[in-house]
Amino acid sequence: MSESIPALLERFVQGDDLAFGELMARFQKKVYFLAYQTLGNHLDADEVMQETFVRIYRKRKELEHVANFTSFVIRVASNYAIDLLRKRKGQASTEDLSELPSAVQIDLSRRVRTPGEIWTDKHVMMEIQKALDTLPPRQKLTAVLHDVEGYSKAEIAVMLDCPEATVRSNLHIARTKLKKILAKRLARKEQ
């Protein structure tokens, strides 16, 4: 039976580096994909993922008082991703799939959540990614965390360190913009 997150966290706080490795193994994909959805390319997602865990390691002593480690990890990752986006003046640099080596491209057929659905087509995913890239950092993160990752508005408020009303407002604006950009795709889906 795998060890619980609080138990691993307690071991890590007490100086057990093996527990840190295990925590990273459990959260690294979550952080990577969140960063990818926010920044739109592998190099930046990799940087966010690594820097997030380096920062968490350095904050080891503060973790004793952290009630929700998942929220804490996403908060650290979100802050760094927002910093990166600001450095790029809010412009995410989405990769052109045709330029990526085939080893890096995902075989979407293996990741289908509902086999047969047209939404698994990677070009649809590219459309969504490009639509997300038009949003300001916080709106983008809010939309990803809520509509893609499924976190509640209250959880997102903790992760992004803002009032829940701000989360609602950012989500509403993000959805309105995404609906406009993805209008053609949504119309096809509704038919």
């Binding site: 690294q28 993922m49 995913m125 939309a143 959805r175 509704e190």
Partner: protein, 188 residues
Amino acid sequence: MTCLEFRSILDRYVDRELSTDEMRRADEHLTGCATCREELASQQSLKQLMSGYVPPVQPPDDYWDQARDRVLAKTVLTADREQKQTDTLVDSHSYMPVMRSVLSVAASIALLAIALVLGSRHDRPAVVLSNQPHQVIVTAEMAELLKSPDGGPLTLGDQRRIGQASILMGGPGMVGRFNFLPGLLRIY
């Protein structure tokens, strides 16, 4: 419920956050409003589309282990190395405070010894030369050295050398107690 009211709760409707009463009123409005039904369908499609979103690229399988190793190299291994370096530095410098103490004590003893030796060589009080036109204070040793064979007044050259010696040796002060200095200055 008006269309405007419905639009203001659309997000909460889609996210299933409405109370039973709000939901009933919204559904009543939807029954008679095609425009809001369309808006709702669009919003639900977007939510469904987003929930099925996965990044279009994924790193190769070995990426995760490699990335983890890189993070561990920056954190755990670096911390170990820094700890070892600190330990080594502590080991190599651990004798420094003791050495400083030993050297301080040794220096204090040496200064005390020098003071005792010098002090022991000055066992006579300073002397006021009485046979001079002006009062001149010198050490007893110098007074002996400066005695003229005929007991007469000092020559101008003698006085100049006494002046130099007084400045350099501090008269009856500490430096003046070095009785070899008059010899070096050829005061006799």
